[in-house]
């Protein structure tokens, strides 16, 4: 009898912080504000600045692809530049040899990159951590050589590369080609960000993270780790490949030497600096990849690469959860203070 008396009282339920207590009109206003901020550059920025911003959006999409497999699934890839290159070349070849329209090349490029990602993901199952990183790294280094090779020169244009032309904006829109490309990149990226967001917050996304955090437990709970890992690689390669397609039409040119291992390293650095395993972090990563090399060049003309590397190591030491993590912590602190 006495034992039952010692049972503690039912604890008072901790109330969830009133985080999502935002009125519908407030959310609507936020969405409108975000949309306005995304569209404003079309009217505000000069042509070159708009081009740079378009590339930043595309880089953000490529970093998002890397984040799916490396951030959320824990398979370290240093070779995502390869998928970016393949996506770019798929679009360039179809547009310049087959006279396809840009939109028609997107599904093909997505399918090719997903297939390649699946193929790379298979041997990747045999490798953990560092080896996978080094294998994908060798893929990234080999890509320019393969693209230059004589056997496929008729298609790829060899060292000279291929030229292509931006799609024209629809005639009912009062926009020039640059403005239209920004809109296209923004639209495609927005859709893929939304899809990725949903993927990560679904059962599959939770399974990917479970495999990353504890593969044994994940397998014991009945997750098919091999299938999930290879498919994560495929999805990730597809997203990065679509970014490559967009990049090719925006630059209107593809050549083997613009897809060296530097691209892969940039994507990796962007992911770390923006925030590993963070959808929003990918956006910061894209901005970083595009704009920081310029800033680094201003700090020191001689060695932007040294500064780039130093920033990467500093972030790993001081802000391992990246820029997105920093914002998250600041927001949490602000909310605490507001609640007090």
């Amino acid at each position: 009898m006495s034992a039952t008396e010692e049972v503690p009282a039912v604890p008072v339920l901790v109330q969830a912080p009133p985080r999502s207590a935002m009125a519908t009109w407030q959310r609507g206003a936020l969405v409108l504000l975000g949309l306005a901020a995304a569209l404003a550059p079309i009217f505000v920025l000069e042509s070159f600045q708009l081009f740079q911003l378009t590339m930043a959006v595309i880089m953000a999409l490529a970093v998002l692809g890397l984040n799916i497999v490396t951030g959320y699934n824990g398979q370290i890839s240093l070779g995502h530049g390869a998928f970016y290159a393949v996506g770019a070349y798929a679009t360039a070849i179809l547009m310049s040899h087959g006279d396809w329209s840009f939109w028609a090349t997107l599904p093909v490029s997505a399918a090719v990159c997903a297939g390649l990602g699946y193929a790379v993901g298979f041997p990747a199952l045999r490798l953990g951590g560092l080896y996978l990183a080094l294998t994908t790294f060798s893929l990234a280094v080999a890509v320019p050589q393969i693209l230059k090779h004589r056997a496929i020169e008729d298609w790829t244009g060899g060292v000279q590369g291929l030229f292509l032309v931006k799609p024209d904006p629809p005639s009912w829109l009062p926009l020039d080609a640059d403005q239209w490309m920004y809109l296209v990149a923004l639209g495609v990226s927005a859709v893929l960000f939304l899809l990725s967001w949903n993927l990560i917050r679904s059962r599959v996304g939770r399974a990917l993270m479970a495999i990353r955090d504890n593969p044994t437990a994940a397998e014991a709970m009945g997750m098919d780790t091999a299938t999930l890992k290879t498919r994560a690689f495929a999805v990730s390669a597809m997203v990065t490949g679509i970014a490559g397609s967009l990049g090719a039409v925006v630059i209107e040119f593809v050549a083997p030497d613009s897809f060296g291992f530097g691209v892969s390293i940039s994507l990796f650095v962007g992911m770390v600096v923006g925030g590993v395993a963070s959808i929003a972090g990918s956006i910061f990563g894209g901005l970083f990849v595009l704009f920081v090399p310029n800033i680094a060049e201003e700090i020191s003309k001689a060695a932007p690469g040294v500064i780039y590397g130093a920033i990467l190591i500093l972030f790993l030491f001081l802000l391992p959860d990246g820029f997105a993590g920093l914002l998250r912590r600041l927001a949490a602190r602000w909310r605490d203070r507001a609640a007090r």
Binding site: T70, G74, I76, L78, F122, P123, R126, L127, G128, G129, L130, Y131, A133, L134, T135, F137, S138, L139, V141, A142, Q145, I146, K148, H149, R150, T216, E219, A220, I265, F268, V269, V272, V276, A302, A303, P304, G305, V306, Y308, G309, A310, L312, I313, L316, F317, P320
Partner: protein, 290 residues
Amino acid sequence: MDGLAHQFIAGIATGGIYASVALALVMIYQATHHVNFAQGEMATFSTFIALTLIQAGLPYWVAFVLTVVVSFALGVAIERVLMRPVQHAPVLTHVGVFIGLLLIVGNLTGWVFGYTTKVFPSPFESEGLLFGGLVSGHELGSTVVTLAVLLLVYLFFRHTTLGLAMRAAAYNPASSRLVGIRVGWMLALGWGLAAAVGAVAGMMVAPVVFLDPTMMLGILLYAFAGALLGGIDNPMGAVVGGFAVGVLENLAGAYVVGTELKLTVALAIIIGVLVVRPSGLFGRVVLSRV
């Protein structure tokens, strides 16, 4: 037929370089469970130091020894400063630090020493070919140096107390600490040794491929392929794998794919080994229980 024989022997000479870098990779892996991506860039930096010393008027072998010592010190310093603070961090952080190191050392090399391709002297007489035109003096000399380094490293790990302590520290850090081995310093020593072996490899390969800041990139990948082929946890396997990759690369380059796809050969070997026999030719098959 002579052509084939010469390709074969040239393959063994470059294979020796891959073998020593592969050995450095395996060594650092055994001592620290790291695979240092910046290994190649560090070796290139060391080779530039050697060139600077030689141009300053030092005899070749004095510069050689000085470079090895400086590289060893740099390797230890990098472990102490960059790797130690993140030793308990996830693998992703380690990869990040390696990439950062690669960017910093690689670009620093170009910045300090310039981007132009330079000629690096060979200590071995290279006029004419020996043994009926089969092998050049440098090929023979660099193979001998590589084998000597491999032998030294083997003797160090098998027959000295320090080598035993390093192996123990990697195998079981907790128990090693209990018997008084300073595990942290063993890791640093492992990095130093790997940097020193890398420096030797750099100085041996520079006369063949010429010295520029990106010299070692391909070599690192071949070395990795060799290490995988021989079994990443087996130093002797890494050496054999390195030689095998050198021969394969030269033969494939000469007769099958041509020189422009040489790096792709490394990729093909890596993926082939991983798919067909992930533990390599001589590696221990690790069974994991799930």
